[in-house]
Symmetry: C2
Subunit: 350 residues, 2 copies
């Protein structure tokens, strides 16, 4: 690399770098295979009617010469760019990152290159990125959100398929994939009930968040199906963080001293609750069983004891979004929201 | 969006979608501006000698018609694709994500689109991604690592500039940007000394990690400059996690009961230490001042008390890598490792 980098510094007067070695062209491939350039192009792009023997001779010649088709020229021929935009709609972090990487994994393995577009929750940046994706002629777009609150559809600058991941589109005609948070919450609560707990409290995030509402509704419904009522008489809404978990669990113990389990809306809340319970001398799971939501390794495994929690399988969600997008690009578009199952991960806290 | 998506489902027999509306071409722009297509192209690509008045007339016409230059055609003309590859060399997470997003921010704002290539630490995936980037004719590559251990240079498949971020290249002829961990550690230790502490311990990660070694060396040197020796007589190497922080701080208290400060190699270690100190009745910072490294918000602010810590300014690091890459693409390549300053964030633990 050092040699080529040295030569790179001597930019030619026209501002283009001198190529390190002569580039192999499709003409070279055609010559070696003994076919016309048009035939070589058809063979390499898998188009037109050719004999299998011809295709394989061209493929061998390409391999032998180390021919890399120029993707740009290929895309001008095929009308497809084999690129996809991965657009984030709010700040990328713990929740959207696994979705992005899952999508990149599914697409990259299929010869699609992925443009990363971080809008940072800014409408002007979103517009700018969509215009850039339009001028790049992307074949489709995945829109990944951080939360599961439904979002308005993208303002369309270009006529390509769009799949929404995590935060579903508000339009029923769009295709969205989202985690089945209700099913995840239901499994956690059923697990607590199956372990013999009957006075179960629920501490969760802000009441305005879709995730809080869906998980709380599933909590209430699952208790009711078992003939139980929420410990402390109600769901405790607050923040997604540890201080709220520490504070709320004290409130629960005060309101319902016989409480024997707490289902928390996030691992951070559960971790705060675990610390607080330990400090007042209540054992987990002996006195009180504890379950979280997210399976955020750094919280769930550092918790004392390690936390039973619901995993939203976000990498799978990203992969599913990519598969649906490829189907839509291929003319097989679906619509509506597809919910993907969550998985209960059982550790020592229950 | 619903209408266009509806029509999208009716794929044409050749597999291409019918365009939603006639596409504005450069010929339309040229006609409206009253110039030739060649002149319009020069004006829009900012090339050749043209009068300012002509350039502005073409720009006005393009704006008026909503003309979006086809980036692929533009790149075939200019020899540049205005794309950059963002290659991760190991698993993307808390450390590499801010670097990636900082780079995307700096490039995206400058009309460069960014290909995300997650190698997942797999040499075959890395090779596959580099080949894809070569066939996309990217103008340059940023290689982002998760740790600061120097890494072998990329096997070169293509002759474009490369900048290494976080994990510097082992070759002095490459350009790398990395956080100045020694300076960060020095500032933290000086801060503890300035607060009147004199028996300072250091608990850190695995001895084989570059970060552990650099931070520990700066710790020893800064103490020596102040005529001090490490509390507990040595640096305690272990893991980057909370259980190690909890365990190691007990060892420190046992070996050196008069220890009055602990500098931890990560926020997770510091958080474990804080929990353990509280449980044995030592106050922070009253009895023992505590400093971490990373400024990982979820650890540093949830810590009781909130943690003084070193911020590696990873977003800035990504931005700097992008700026250096643009310079190199422009023929102004540098070499060697550029160290960017860390920032001490002071909270209640000191």
């Amino acid at each position: 690399m050092s040699d080529s980098q040295g030569s790179r510094r001597e930019a030619r007067p026209d501002g283009r770098r001198a190529p390190a070695r002569p580039r192999v062209t499709i003409a070279d491939v055609a010559a070696l295979a003994g076919v016309s350039v048009g035939t070589a192009s058809k063979a390499l792009n898998n188009r037109g009617k050719l004999r299998a023997e011809t295709r394989s001779r061209v493929a061998d010649a390409a391999r032998q010469l180390g021919f890399r088709p120029n993707e740009m020229a290929r895309s001008l021929l095929s009308g497809r760019s084999f690129t996809v935009g991965l657009l984030t709609t709010d700040h990328v972090g713990r929740f959207s990152l696994p979705v992005l990487l899952g999508a990149e994994d599914a697409l990259g393995a299929g010869e699609i290159s992925v443009f990363l577009c971080d809008t940072r929750g800014d409408a002007i940046r979103e517009r700018h990125h969509l215009q850039a994706l339009a001028s790049r002629r992307v074949d489709g777009i995945i829109v990944a959100g951080r939360r599961t609150d439904p979002r308005p559809p993208l303002r369309q600058f270009l006529d390509v398929p769009v799949v929404y991941a995590m935060a579903p589109s508000q339009s029923a005609q769009d295709l969205s994939v989202a985690p089945d948070e209700a099913q995840g919450a239901r499994e956690a609560v059923r697990h607590l009930i199956a372990a013999g707990r009957s006075r179960i409290a629920h501490i969760t995030g802000p009441a305005r968040h879709h995730s809080s509402q869906v998980r709380a509704a599933a909590f209430r419904r699952t208790l009711a199906e078992a003939g139980l009522a929420p410990a402390a008489g109600k769901v405790l809404y607050g923040e997604w963080n540890e201080p709220w978990g520490r504070q709320a669990v004290q409130h629960v113990l005060h309101a319902d001293p016989r409480c024997d389990a707490v289902f928390c809306g996030s691992d951070q809340i559960a971790r705060g609750a675990a610390d607080s319970l330990r400090e007042v001398g209540r054992t987990v799971p002996g006195d009180i069983a504890l379950a979280g939501f997210d399976n955020w390794d750094v919280m769930a495994t550092a918790c004392r004891p390690p936390l039973t929690t619901v995993d939203m399988a976000l990498g799978e969600l990203g992969r599913a979004a990519a598969v649906r997008l490829l189907e839509a690009i291929d003319g097989r578009a679906r619509s509506g929201v597809e919910y993907l199952p969550c998985r209960l991960v059982i550790r020592d806290s229950t």
